[in-house]
Every structure is written in structure tokens, then in C-alpha cells.
């Protein structure tokens, strides 16, 4: 798969979820290459499958909704940096798997010391 190409380059991901009923933010910074190989590959594939670098920087919701999340994701890879800000209802289908994975990692990581953190397998 093409998502495994270029795996020598460093990939960094910054993820931030804000809004929601509680308004309490959820944040995560990942040095992808510091993760176990399988998890690192999975993230690289999710970024590639989302066509992340082709997404518009701003994806706003057109629904008169309230208390939904907003996501801000920045990916640095092979000299490229791209940021996407998306309302929950405006997240494209192809980006959801990456959003879900980063959300899960961030939720698990927040109650654990950083050096203790392992990306969980499928739940």
C-alpha cells in the first residue's frame, strides 16, 4: 500500500478536539515514529486514506446544531505541513477513521503517564 511508502520520514500529528457539551478540550501530540511499528503504520495509512493533504483547511457545519465537537488536526510529514479544522458534522467519511483513532488514543493517554502509553489494539 502506498501509505507504507516514505516511512523513513518523520511524521508528527497534533490533534485537538474542542467544544461539546462539556467544552473540555482533548489534546494529543504524536511522534508517529516513536510508536510501535504496527501503530505507526496504521496511523500513516489512516492519514493517506483520508487524503489528508488534499482536504480544505476549514470544514464548517451547515446544520443548526449545538454542542458538537470541533476537530483541529495538523500533520507534518516529509517536509509538508497541513492543518484541517472540521466541525463534527462536516468531517468527511474518509477522515473519520483517523479522527476516531486519534480520539481513542487521546482518551486513553490522558489518564496515563506519557512513558507508560501504548496504543491499544482493536477494542
Amino acid at each position: 500500500m502506498n501509505c507504507l511508502l516514505g516511512r523513513e520520514a518523520k511524521m508528527r500529528i497534533e490533534f485537538e478536539r474542542t467544544g461539546g457539551f462539556t467544552g473540555i478540550p482533548l489534546k494529543l501530540k504524536v511522534q508517529v515514529d516513536a510508536l510501535p511499528v504496527e501503530e505507526a503504520q496504521q496511523l500513516r495509512c489512516l492519514v493517506a486514506e483520508a487524503h489528508f493533504f488534499d482536504l480544505p483547511p476549514e470544514l464548517a457545519s451547515l446544520a443548526p446544531a449545538a454542542d458538537q465537537f470541533q476537530y483541529q488536526i495538523t500533520v507534518e510529514d516529509a517536509g509538508r505541513t497541513h492543518s484541517v479544522r472540521a466541525a463534527e458534522t462536516a468531517v468527511p467519511a474518509g477522515l473519520w477513521p483517523l479522527v476516531r483513532q486519534l480520539t481513542t488514543m487521546a482518551r486513553r493517554m490522558r489518564t496515563r503517564p506519557a512513558d507508560d502509553f501504548q496504543v491499544g489494539g482493536g477494542s
Binding site: F21, T22, G23, A65, D67, F69, S123
Partner: protein
């Protein structure tokens, strides 16, 4: 079925009741209408209502219509219907909390403010529970309420959130976003967005206080009490009595809400801090309720409800809300009345005057263009809303 059937309801055939509803004396009309309502509920139909006068249609529509769906941890809305109106409790606490919570909210709006559901026209109240996995949120999507189960997918010691139906005021908060969508249409950004949030918190806690029969001084004024799992150091998500003190936790951080205009937070996230700066109007409402004493939904709540219903523009700022609530208090209870004075005191305690001055620094639109487009779309829709 839990509906009480009064024996006399069965004697008069519907066509005669409709005749009485149209031509009888006021007392006869009222009795006929009530009978029709129950008959209608029993039949579960709305047949032959087209020739009724508007008042009769309104009365007939005035019945709770709830539906609770189960997303079964997926993302498809609304999901599988698990409890329609009138059906008995299921064994699932989330389902029953959503059903009872939307019912209690409907009752506040109908019994106290004579508002018939979200659209004031009997709109069915749809809720979905068990949305996604590990979904630590509840929201209104423009058409229905949606509730996640919090951190149910994590080991117990790592959980921060319980299921979001656990607090009645959260359910009433989400339903009120629907009411706002059909009334002031407050744009979900900056101060109008924080007002949108605040109205949801206000009618959220009022629903709970009314169900518990609490006066203003007996209530805790906490939004989302019970939502945190045991490991979290906090009493709830927001405090209307003391914004900024609801939680202070090593993992979640500290409650960021300001209680005064001088601490207003200009931020770009959270739609311009709508869940942060709502602390300011929240506290103003609390002070009004504290000043007036008694049941907060009766006077303070009425002033806020009338303001939301007919006195705010979609881009209203805190100053506009202060002005409008002060005007409404004067109209409802008299110029210079204790109620109107209490409203002035409430806004003064958060650093806002009631003279109508702008609180949003010149009123420049700072929202992204797409959001402004959305706001304009809602505003143009307003004319078509009955």
C-alpha cells in the same frame, strides 16, 4: 399504557365534541377540548381536525410525543426505536432517562410557559442513546437529541465521564437548543453563541429544580451534576452560582468559566468560547433568581423565556440580552418593580448594564465566512416558521 381514562370521556361521540368545541360556551368548549385530546391520544390519530378553529387544533396538539432510539453504539441516526410515547419503561436506564427527561422538560415549557414543545406546535421529541462507543458528549443536531455513554469503553479506573443521560439538566439543555433554534436562532459563535449555551443551561437547571421542587436557595445551580466518574475532582460541568469552580482536576484541568465581563475569554476554539463565556449570563440569571427567591422558573425563568421567544436577534450580544430581559421584566411585572430591579442587579453583578450598550466591541463579525452564511440562512428561514 399509563393514560388515565375518565369514564365520561367515552359518552360523547367525537363529531359532537367538535361541534361543542366550535360553538359551545367557554366552559363547554374547554371540557370538550380536553375530552377530544384524550380521545385523540387513545386513537393515536389526528383525523378530521382540519375544520377546527386554531385554538382547538393547538389544544389537541398539546400532548407530549416522545420517541427514544438506540444507536447500538453506532453512528447512524436516529437508530432503532425502543420506546415510543406511552410505552412502559425498558430495562435500560439511558432509555428511561431520555424518555423521562424529555418529558420533564416538555412539562416545564408547557405547564409554566404554555409552550407546546420545541416548535410550539407539538413537535415530536426524538432522542437517541448509546451513540457511538466511548462518546463523551450529548448534542442537538438540528432535529433531535443525541446522547453518548461517556467512557463506558475504558477500564473503570480510567473513566472520567458517566453516560450523558444521567443528569436531567443535560437532557433539558439539549432540548432547549431546539427551542432556541425555533425562537431567537442565536448564532452559535461568540456572545450570541454563549447566550445560546446559557439559555440551555438556564432551562436545564430550571427543569431539574422544578422536578425536585427546589427554591432558588435550595438548588445547587450545578449543570451536569453526576456526569463525572468518581476519580474526577469536581461537582459537575458548570456552576451558575460560582462559575469557574465546578471542577479542578489533574486530568481535566480547571473549570475555565468567567463570572464577570472583565474575565471574558476571547478564544478561537469552541466556537469562540461558547461553553466558557456562558458563565457570565449564567451567573446573571442566578443572581436574578437569588434576588427574587422562591421558585426560579416562575419569575426569573418567565422573564428569560419571553426574552428568548421574542426579543433577541440572532446576533444578540450580552448587552442586548441584558437590555431585553430588563424591558421584559418591566412589561411583565411593572416598571421599577422588584422583578425589574432584580434583573438590573443580576447583570450589574457580572459587569453589564441594562441600557442596551454593546458588549461585543463594535459588533464586528469575527466568525468564519461559512458560519456567517449559515446564520444568514437560518435568519431567512425565520420568516417561513409558523
Amino acid at each position: 399504557m399509563t393514560t388515565m381514562i375518565h369514564p365520561t370521556n367515552c359518552f360523547v361521540p367525537p363529531h359532537m365534541l367538535r361541534e361543542i368545541a366550535q360553538r359551545g360556551s367557554p366552559a363547554q368548549r374547554e371540557r370538550a377540548l380536553r375530552t377530544l385530546v384524550i380521545t385523540e391520544q387513545l386513537r393515536g390519530q389526528r383525523l378530521a381536525l382540519t375544520d377546527l378553529p386554531a385554538l382547538a387544533k393547538r389544544a389537541l396538539a398539546a400532548a407530549k410525543q416522545r420517541q427514544v432510539f438506540d444507536a447500538e453504539h453506532g453512528s447512524t441516526l436516529p437508530g432503532r426505536l425502543v420506546r415510543p410515547e406511552g410505552h412502559p419503561p425498558t430495562g435500560d436506564p439511558a432509555v428511561n432517562e431520555a424518555y423521562d427527561g424529555t418529558g420533564a422538560t416538555y412539562d416545564l415549557y408547557w405547564d409554566v410557559y404554555q409552550r407546546n414543545s420545541i416548535d410550539d406546535n407539538g413537535l415530536r421529541l426524538d432522542s437517541t442513546v448509546h451513540y457511538q462507543q466511548g462518546y463523551d458528549n450529548a448534542f442537538w443536531n438540528g432535529e433531535q437529541m443525541v446522547f453518548g455513554d461517556g467512557d463506558e469503553d475504558l477500564p473503570e479506573e480510567e473513566r472520567l465521564f458517566n453516560r450523558f443521560t444521567i443528569a436531567l439538566d443535560i437532557i433539558a439543555h439539549e432540548l432547549t437548543h431546539g427551542v432556541t433554534q425555533y425562537t431567537a436562532k442565536l448564532v452559535y459563535w461568540d456572545q450570541s453563541g454563549a447566550l445560546n449555551e446559557s439559555f440551555s443551561d438556564v432551562f436545564g437547571v430550571l427543569t431539574k429544580q422544578r422536578l425536585l421542587g427546589q427554591t432558588a436557595d435550595q438548588a445547587d445551580w450545578i449543570v451536569g451534576a453526576g456526569l463525572f466518574a468518581p476519580r474526577v475532582q469536581g461537582v459537575g460541568i458548570r456552576s451558575m452560582k460560582a462559575p469557574g469552580t465546578a471542577y479542578d482536576d489533574p486530568v481535566l484541568g480547571k473549570d475555565p468559566q468567567p463570572a464577570h465581563m472583565r474575565d471574558y475569554k476571547n478564544v478561537s476554539y469552541d466556537n469562540g468560547g461558547v461553553h466558557i463565556n456562558s458563565g457570565i449570563p449564567n451567573h446573571a440569571f442566578y443572581v436574578v433568581a437569588r434576588e427574587l427567591g422562591g421558585y426560579a422558573w416562575e419569575k426569573a425563568g418567565r422573564i428569560w423565556y419571553v426574552t428568548l421567544r421574542e426579543r433577541l436577534d440572532a446576533r444578540a450580544d450580552f448587552g442586548a440580552a441584558a437590555y431585553a430581559t430588563h424591558q421584559v421584566a418591566g412589561e411583565l411585572y411593572g416598571v421599577g418593580s422588584l422583578e425589574q430591579q432584580a434583573v438590573r442587579t443580576g447583570w450589574a453583578e457580572v459587569g453589564i448594564g441594562v441600557e442596551g450598550g454593546s458588549t461585543s466591541g463594535g459588533g464586528c463579525l469575527t466568525a468564519p465566512a461559512t458560519l456567517v452564511a449559515t446564520a444568514l440562512r437560518w435568519t431567512s428561514r425565520r420568516d417561513r416558521t409558523p
